[in-house]
């Protein structure tokens, strides 16, 4: 069992259990507990959520483990908050309730948990799932007022990948960026974030602008450009 368990709080028992099934396909060793609906049908149940959170805490690892709760509409959050108030401080500190899309956040979180992620990592994975629809995140590199920083470096390179910057090449590019040791933007978004890169929806043949600043900028931009020119593991 992974050290982070998931609790899925929905107004619908079917939505919660169905989502748990979807998540289980990619995360067989993660405890994903549905806590949806009320006996009368649609609604959120304090008792069901409390029971699920307590069960999750019981199996969660103590070293960096815990419970990540996904919620759907408003009262799912309210009910979850009310449940957390009933726990003691130590238990409550091991529960996170990220604001994330329900199904997509559950899948992202459970995949991360399956990979051995700790509580913070699993929570972050759920949060990032929302970025798929969000506008591009703020660039990691900010130009100073009045112009480009003297130590800013940028380059333009053409993407060769037949299906554009989809998941696999985006994941590889994100790894290259994070290994560069300094923030690098790709068309203005954080190059170390696979999901942010995917939001760009860059097609084959499009030009992308790589930018960085600071002492490592030249080397970072060069390595990113080289990786893209080499086809990001595909072409």
């Amino acid at each position: 069992m992974s050290r982070v368990a998931l609790v899925l709080v929905s107004h619908s028992a079917e939505v919660a259990s169905g989502t748990a099934q979807i998540a289980a396909q990619m995360a067989p060793d993660v405890l994903v507990l549905p806590a949806g609906g009320i006996p009368e049908g649609i609604g959120t149940s304090f008792d069901r959520v409390l029971e699920a959170v307590e069960e999750g805490l019981a199996v969660a690892g103590s070293d960096g483990g815990g419970v990540v709760v996904l919620t759907d509409l408003g009262s799912a959050v309210l009910t979850t908050d009310a449940v957390l108030e009933m726990l003691d401080d130590e238990q409550a500190a091991m529960v996170r309730v990220p604001s994330a899309p329900f199904v997509e956040g559950a899948v992202a979180a459970s995949v991360r948990a399956q990979q051995g992620g700790d509580l913070a990592a699993v929570e972050a994975a759920a949060l990032e799932a929302g970025a798929v629809w969000a506008p591009a995140v703020a660039p990691a590199v900010q130009a100073p007022v009045g112009g480009v920083a003297a130590d800013a470096v940028s380059a333009v390179v053409t993407l060769r990948n037949p299906h554009g910057l989809h998941a696999r090449p985006a994941a590889l590019l994100a790894r290259v960026v994070s290994e560069a040791g300094t923030p690098v933007t790709v068309n203005g978004v954080d190059g170390a974030s696979m999901l942010a890169l995917m939001t760009l929806k860059v097609h084959q043949g499009s030009e992308v602008t790589i930018a960085a600043a600071g002492p490592l900028a030249r080397r970072a931009v060069d390595s990113v450009v080289a990786a893209i020119e080499e086809g990001l593991g595909e072409a």
Binding site: I42, G43, T44, F46, G74, S75, L78, D81, A82, E85
Partner: protein, 216 residues
């Protein structure tokens, strides 16, 4: 009349009656700008409270004990947002009413604690078309009445009237919290169901303070 445990029990039973009588009307309000189940949810909750009260071997010792029973029951049986919201309101109110009877100051404390619970749970402020728009004026009016030297019944009456006016005042508001906020501008022109039910509940508290009779 003393606002003692007998009053608290009368309040709760009166609330259950009023909520049952108004369940269709409340759900109708909720159908206009929500998911249509507010009346049903509250009725289920307060019916469950009455069942629990009937099952007690002896009456609760203090006013706060009655409120705590309401809190935990509503929390567990009201499946919508009203569960955690009212549940937290009654729970916080219970914490400041561990008393045999409430004087005007304690009534104010009850209402303010209830309001704090709702705000802490729902994170709404006034003007967002929620139950806060009934509870906030109620707490303010209660404080004013208490400062004015009114007795506990007068304080409750002032609170109830303010809550009723507050509920009516939600009519033109555009909702920025809760399910109604999904409707945006179209939520204007309808009363907020949570504010309406809050007014009913607080009026029941005031009526329970002047009712004659000894049942609990």
């Amino acid at each position: 009349m003393a606002l003692d445990v007998a009053w608290a029990l009368r309040w709760v039973r009166l609330t259950a009656d009023v909520v049952a009588e108004n369940r269709v009307a409340l759900s109708e309000l909720d159908r206009q700008i929500g998911d249509g189940d507010h009346g049903e949810n509250l009725n289920r909750g307060f019916s469950a409270v009455v069942v629990k009260l009937d099952a007690l071997d002896e009456p609760p010792a203090q006013v706060g004990d009655v409120l705590k029973l309401v809190a935990t029951t509503l929390m567990s049986t009201v499946g919508g947002a009203a569960g955690p919201l009212y549940g937290t309101a009654y729970l916080r109110a219970a914490k400041v009413t561990g008393l045999d009877a409430l004087d005007p100051g304690a009534v104010v404390a009850l209402l303010e604690a209830g309001l704090e619970g709702i705000v802490a749970r729902g994170k709404a402020t006034t003007g967002e078309k929620t139950m806060v728009d009934a509870w906030s004026p109620a707490a303010v009016a209660a404080q004013a009445a208490a400062s004015d030297g009114q007795g506990p019944e007068g304080v409750l009456d002032a609170a109830a009237s303010a809550a009723e006016a507050g509920a009516v005042a939600t009519d033109p508001m555009v909702a920025t919290k809760g399910r109604a906020s999904y409707l945006g501008e179209r939520s204007a022109g309808h009363r907020d169901p949570g504010a309406a039910s809050s007014a009913l509940i607080l009026r029941a508290a005031a009526r329970a303070a002047v009712a004659s009779g000894t049942d609990s």
